[in-house]
Each structure stands twice: as C-alpha cells, then as structure tokens.
C-alpha cells in the first residue's frame, strides 16, 4: 500500500510565551522522500510532532491515505536515553512493541519472526540479549529504527536518526530508507546532512519558525540556499 500524502495549512504552535511555528504551509507528496532542514530550535521536530498529533497546534493537517484506509506510522525519535533501572534487553523491548501478550511471557511465533527480521535488517541480531542501558548511541539508534519497522510502515517519520551512527551504520540506514521508499512508504526525514539531503530527498521544506523554502530538492536546495545555510552556520544553523 502506498504511503499517504500530507497537506499542512496555516500550522502554528505556541508553547507558553514562545512562538515555535507561525503559519506553516507545505505538502508532502504520497510515496516521496521528504526532508525537513533548518537551524537548531527552528521547529523541525515540533512540526513533525504536530503531524504525529503530539502538540497543541492550530491550523489544519490533512493525511490523504491510499483508499482512505489509515496505514501504519513508523517513528524513529531523536536519540533518547534508554532505561537503566529495568533489566530490559533489546529482545524484550522489541517484544513489548510487537504484541499485546506481556513481554515477560514467551513471545508469540509471528511476533518473534517479525522481531528477527527487523533486528536482522538493522544489524542487531547478535546483540539482542544486551540490556538497553548498556547500548552505545549507534546501537540505540539501530534499535529505534528496528522498532519503526514493525509493523511495516506506510509513513516513516525520522528525527535525525543518524547522529551517532558510524559510517557502516549510516550506509545501512540510507539503504533501508531507500528500500522502504521504493516500496511506497512516504518518508519524512529531519536531516542536518545537506549532502545526504541533496543526494536522496525528492522534496525539502526549510523551516525556521516559518517555511523559508519548499519544493523539489534539485531546484530548492540550490547553491545559493546551501551557501545561505553554511553562511548561517555561525548563527546557529547546524549542518
């Protein structure tokens, strides 16, 4: 099933006295690979969280699902600190997200097969017995990606998933995202690596409280725009 198109109109977000987003407007094409870029604190993650229904925003967000049936959303959050109090292994975590049967009981056959496949895709099979608290940053990001693969996502929202990955990990993630996108998944990717964005994204939206630019990557992420980004790096733009 192809992923959804998303239409955002007049989206604003105010948190306390802070105006995070002001009248944002853009569209994401069905089955496209769409990147959000912009400075730190510019509202990229907030925009994504508005789309996921986690922010008290105003304005309209419309999902156009294939045949009107809501599909699966996979979400890879920013690198998070993992639970250290509980003896929770990678396997346990994947079981928690894969089935309703309590994770302290034996996993269901179909859930186990899905977990095996997801862990294999992100290269964590050999480390599945490790506790979450002992994982490195890159391993945590692989785990967060693995959970987004169950069930197979129609919309995949990625919030800087490659920050702590080594070169091999980055290549693997690029390959996985490409595969999913080719299968029809709409990918929304918050990305600071402009080379990667130029190479992979169909469309981009540049966000800094408002939409600075929006459109096909080839025509929007121009040399001028890139110079602007690099020039503004001293003023808080992250690349």
């Amino acid at each position: 099933m192809p992923g959804p198109a998303i239409h955002v109109d007049n989206l604003s977000l105010q948190l306390g006295a802070h105006r995070v987003l002001a009248s944002i407007q853009f569209s994401i094409a069905a089955g496209s690979l769409h990147c959000f870029i912009g400075p730190n604190g510019g509202g990229k993650t907030s925009t994504a969280r508005c789309l996921l229904g986690q922010m008290p925003h105003t304005g309209t967000i419309r999902f156009e699902w294939f045949n009107g049936n809501k599909g699966n959303i996979g979400y890879v959050p920013q690198l998070i600190e993992m639970e250290r109090t509980l003896p929770l292994t990678i396997d346990n975590f994947m079981t928690v997200i894969s089935q309703d049967k309590p994770a302290f009981m034996s996993p269901k056959k179909e859930a186990k097969a899905a977990i095996d496949h997801a862990l294999d895709r992100v290269g964590l099979t050999a480390k599945r017995s490790l506790m979450l608290g002992s994982l490195s940053g890159g391993e945590r990001q692989r785990l967060l990606f693995a959970q987004a693969l169950i069930p197979n996502p129609d919309l995949l929202v990625l919030d800087e998933p490659m920050t702590s990955l080594d070169e091999g990990g980055s290549r693997l993630f690029e390959q996985l995202i490409g595969e999913l996108n080719r299968e029809g998944t709409t990918v929304l990717w918050i990305n600071h690596d402009l080379d990667q964005v130029a190479r992979l994204a169909d469309n981009i939206t540049v966000i800094d409280k408002v939409v600075l630019a929006h459109g096909p990557t080839a025509t929007t992420l121009t040399a001028d725009m890139q110079r602007g980004v690099f020039h503004s790096q001293d003023n808080g733009w992250a690349v």
């Binding site: 229904g53 959050p77 509980l86 929770l88 292994t89 049967k101 302290f104 506790m131």
Partner: protein, 301 residues
C-alpha cells in the same frame, strides 16, 4: 467462595491432624493467611516491576495513607470499622485519580508530586483516624498501617480475589502498553497507545490492589512488597522475563515464609515484620552476590 474456603480449611486441618501436613495448618487463621500470601505475593511482585519501571515507588504508600482517611470516613458514616471497604475504595480511588490528574498540570517530577500527596494524605488521615479512634475505642491507625494477616476474614479474601481477577483481566493485556508508555510516551502514542488513559488505568489498578491488601498486610507492608522483591531481583536479573518471574517468586516466598517460619519455630516476631525481614534478607543476599560475583557486575555510573 465461603464454602470453598471452608472445604479447603477443613481438608488441610484433617491432613494436619493426620500428620501429613505440618501442625500449623490445624489453625484456621494460618490457612487464611497462607491463602492470602499465595495471592498477594505474585500480585504485588508483578505490579512491583511496573511500579519500579514507572518510578512510582511511593504511590502505594500515599494510597495506603489515604486509606486512613477512607477508614475514618467509613466509621463516621456508619460502616463497620473492621472492614469499611466502600469508603476506603471510594476515597482512595478519588485520591489516586486526583493525583494523576495533577501530575501533567504541575512542573514537578512524579516522585516529588507523590511525596506532596503522601504527606498530605498522612496528615489528614492520621488526624481523622485519631479523632474517630477515640469515638470507637480501637487502634485503627495501627491496623491500617500494619494490617493483620492473622485475622483475615472470608470477606477480606473475597475482596482480594476480585481485585486480583480485575488486575489479571485488565492489567495483563495492557502490560506492554503500560511499559512502553513509561519508557517513551511519545513513541507509545505514535504506536497507538492512549498513554493518558493507560496511566489512569494503572493508577486505578494499583489503588484497588493497595486497598485490598491494606486490611490484610497493612499500608507499610504493601509498599515493602511492591519494592523490595523487585529491588532484590533487579540485582541479579538480565532480562524482563527473569526479572518479573523472580520478583513474583521472591515476593511469594517472603509472604509464605514470613508467616510460616515464626510459627513453625516459635519465633516471637509478628508476621508482618517477618515478611519484610525475609524480603530484606533476599535483597541483602542478591546485593552481595551482585558485588562479589564478577559475572553480575555492571557499570557503576
């Protein structure tokens, strides 16, 4: 359920009389206490793992203290002071729901907010109970705080059984969702978990369990059995599966052993104290093992 309890007690008494079972099974109150133990142990052990995950260690203590107010209200409106369940459940549920409602509306961490509610509930509860105790001439404060596992009635066992069934039916299918909600609420929400609703359900379940156990083992002991076995198990376990099952086993062993050991060997220790001490021994043992056996060591910082 009374005919079943009667049949069980009479069977065990007969077996004890025949020398097949230990002599302590000859006493009705011992059988009642052990029956409660084998229900309370796994129940509190399992819920304790979630309490630890959600960092709500003192929530049940706050509910236990709120039970004091519930008892006092019950006595004032004419309920039996030995089992004022309607008032206890009503007030404690209201207390737990208000606490959970307040949580996202303050900028405090969960443990600090629970601390605030715990203090308020103790102050109000103790004051009211002391006032009521003078009127009915009984030691309600002690019985709520420390319970009386050796004076358990069939009604107490029925209440415990019903709460246990509710917890199994409602809580088990939601266990993973509750855990995910505490690990990462944002991720849980995207995965279709109604994090707030699940939180309220958990609060209601812990409240029901705490109130059902208060009469039997007391507010202080509920807290101890929710925390100490989980802490002991955490020292040695390296997966959720072993953690939950070990916690349930240690909690059950502590309950059964705490009742059986003092009676079997005439040790002058109240059962409540013995239960906590046994759990504490498990915790000390596992802490020693964790620090002595190299295979159990983890990063200290």
């Amino acid at each position: 359920m009374t005919p079943f309890y009667t049949w069980l007690r009479e069977t065990l008494m007969a077996l004890s009389d025949a020398g097949i079972m230990p002599s302590i099974f000859f006493y009705e109150f011992v059988v009642n206490a052990l029956l409660c133990s084998i229900v309370i142990g796994p129940l509190l052990g399992c819920v304790g793992t979630m309490i630890v995950a959600k960092r709500m260690a003192f929530f049940s203590q706050a509910i236990g203290n709120a039970a004091l107010t519930g008892v006092a209200i019950g006595v004032l409106i004419g309920e039996s002071y030995t089992a004022p369940y309607v008032s206890m459940f009503s007030f404690c549920l209201l207390f737990g729901i208000v606490l959970n409602y307040t949580k996202p509306r303050t900028r405090m961490s969960a443990d600090a907010l629970i601390g605030v509610f715990l203090s308020i509930s103790l102050a109000v509860g103790a004051s009211l109970v002391l006032y009521v105790s003078a009127r009915v001439n009984t030691h309600i404060l002690e019985s709520v705080m420390f319970g009386s596992i050796l004076t358990v009635s069939d009604l107490d066992m029925n209440v415990l059984l019903v709460v246990t069934i509710i917890t199994l039916v409602v809580g088990l299918p939601l266990y993973n969702k509750m855990l995910l909600g505490s690990l990462n609420p944002s991720l849980a929400q995207v995965r279709g978990v109604n994090v707030q609703a699940i939180e309220y359900i958990f609060i209601v379940l812990v409240t029901l369990i705490t109130v059902a156990c208060v009469k039997i083992i007391g507010a202080v002991l509920v807290e101890a059995l929710l925390l100490i076995p989980a802490a002991a198990a955490r020292n040695l376990c390296r997966s959720l599966r072993s953690f939950v099952w070990t916690t349930m086993a240690l909690a059950t062993l502590s309950c059964v052993g705490g009742i059986w050991i003092p009676m079997q060997w005439d040790i002058p220790v109240p059962s409540g104290g013995a239960i906590v001490m046994l759990a504490a021994i498990f915790f000390i043992l596992t802490t020693v093992i964790r620090n002595v056996v190299p295979g159990f060591r983890e990063a200290k910082l």
